[in-house]
Structure formats: structure tokens, C-alpha cells
């Protein structure tokens, strides 16, 4: 059996300067939800998890679950890693009769959490979205290009925190970009 590892395993914690915290978000699973019918997906999620669908560029959260808007008919469910397989099966079952797909993306994306007063400014040096607290309050989400690679940025609700999801293959690029952006 292969051991589960992420490219962020070797990342030293707390390496960043004052005003910026950077941490890998661990033990989370990610399910991509796609549906030709939003009401069908809405019903499946409400019955299974009690989670309402978020509006465009928004996130809905309940307990350990967060549901991220990705595009029309597409959402990403951020959930505890140990729940991923059972929720994937359960949602798949509820959506069986509809044109929908539930796909496990846990190993395709990595999740970073940036915190501290400097976090918005540093991220904004690499993308064209206003991430300052008044413009990017809790529950806000943006899919954008960060440091020239596709990224999903969202505000999980904790003060001064921004989560960043990127493709696994860009992990080293993102860490080295963050280091140099922090030095500037």
C-alpha cells in the first residue's frame, strides 16, 4: 500500500516573516461535484449534509464541511479526509438518476492557509483580485491566476485567513513564489 504524501510535507512551518503565517491544510478531502441540474444537486447535498448550494463566488460552510462554488453547475466539497470515501458514495447514490458526477480530487489539489495582516497584500502582488478584508469578507471565493497559475482563493471565516487551493504540481512553484513575494 502506498503511503499518502503531499508535496508540502517538507514545508517548514512558521518560516515566514512577522505579519504572515503560512501552513499546509492537512487531513482534508476534496470532492468535485458536477451537475446538469442545480436543484438535483441542492437536494442531494441538503439531505446528505444539510448544506445549501453557494451563490457564484461564494462558499457555504457547516461544521467540518465547506462547499465552494467553482462555475455554473460545479462545486467543490472540502471535507474531513476520513469522510471522503463515504460521502462520495452517498452523494453518488443520491444523484444516480440524474446527469451528475462526484469525483475525488483530494490528491490533485493542495490547500494552503495564509494568515496575518500582510497576507492579502502579498497575495495581491500575484493576482488581480482585491483580497483586502472589506472586499473579500468571510464566505467570499475567487478563481483566478495567482503567480500565473490557476488558483481558488477563499475566506474560511477565521479572522485574517485566506485559503488557497492549487494544483499539486505547482506546489514548489507557489512556495518559492511566496518566499520571494514576501521578501519584496
Amino acid at each position: 500500500m502506498l503511503e499518502r504524501r503531499t508535496p508540502l510535507e517538507s514545508m517548514p512551518e512558521g518560516l515566514m516573516p512577522d505579519g504572515l503565517h503560512l501552513a499546509a491544510v492537512r487531513d482534508r478531502g476534496l470532492l468535485l461535484l458536477q451537475s446538469a441540474s442545480s436543484p438535483a444537486m441542492q437536494q442531494a447535498l441538503e439531505r446528505e449534509l444539510g448544506l445549501p448550494l453557494p451563490a457564484a463566488q461564494q462558499v457555504t460552510a457547516l461544521g467540518e464541511y465547506a462547499l465552494l462554488w467553482l462555475a455554473p453547475g460545479q462545486w467543490l466539497l472540502d471535507l474531513p479526509a476520513k469522510m471522503t470515501a463515504s460521502i462520495e458514495t452517498a452523494l453518488g447514490g443520491r444523484l444516480e438518476a440524474t446527469l451528475a458526477a462526484v469525483t475525488d480530487l483530494s490528491d490533485a489539489l493542495i490547500s494552503l492557509e495564509l494568515g496575518g495582516a500582510l497576507a492579502p497584500e502579498i497575495l495581491m502582488s500575484g493576482c488581480s483580485v482585491d483580497l483586502r478584508p472589506h472586499a473579500f469578507p468571510p464566505g467570499c471565493l475567487a478563481r483566478t491566476a495567482l503567480a500565473a497559475v490557476p488558483a481558488i482563493l477563499w475566506n474560511p471565516g477565521a479572522p485574517e485567513r485566506i485559503r488557497c487551493l492549487i494544483e499539486c504540481a505547482f506546489a514548489d512553484h507557489m512556495l518559492s513564489w511566496l518566499r520571494s513575494a514576501t521578501r519584496r
Partner: protein
């Protein structure tokens, strides 16, 4: 740089998007009945106007959706954007 208003994500910088060419460009058919000149017309010939043009863009680094933009090729002003299949204002003078 253009600031393009994605119908779903709002205004973003141009590098997040890819250009998809003028619309409408209709594929002729059926293939066995189309002469070389008509294929060449379909593949290569565009209006390329000086002024207002209707074109397709995709928000490649964002929501990855295609949409239609009315843009002025001289001033780069963008008058309207809309999801594919939804009505847009007519191109004016």
C-alpha cells in the same frame, strides 16, 4: 491591458482569459458537399472590422466558461458580455 468582465466572476485582468475569435462563424455542411472555397472561407476568412466586434472569450484561469464579448477593436472599450446563447445588445455604429 484589458479588464474583461466575466459574466460569473466579474472584472479580471486579460491574462486570465483566452481569445476565441469572432462570432458567429458557422461550420458549413455536410462535409462531402462543401467545396474548397467554402472551407477556406470558414477556416480563414473573418470580418476583422475596425470598430465594434462580437467575439468569444474563455475565462481560462477562472471559472473556465466561454462567453461572448462586444469589444471595440480601436478603443478596446467593452460594451457588454453574456453567457453563450444569451441575448446581447446589437452591435451599434
Amino acid at each position: 491591458m484589458l479588464r474583461i468582465p466575466c459574466p460569473w466572476c466579474g472584472p479580471r485582468d486579460e491574462p486570465e482569459f483566452r481569445w476565441g475569435g469572432e462570432v458567429p462563424v458557422l461550420r458549413p455542411g455536410p462535409p462531402e458537399a462543401v467545396c474548397a472555397a467554402a472551407w477556406a472561407e470558414y477556416l480563414f476568412m473573418r470580418e476583422n472590422p475596425k470598430g465594434w466586434v462580437r467575439e468569444r472569450w474563455v475565462h481560462a484561469c477562472g471559472c473556465r466558461q466561454w462567453f461572448v464579448v462586444i469589444r471595440n477593436t480601436v478603443t478596446h472599450e467593452i460594451r457588454a458580455t453574456a453567457p453563450l446563447g444569451e441575448p446581447l445588445p446589437e452591435i451599434g455604429p
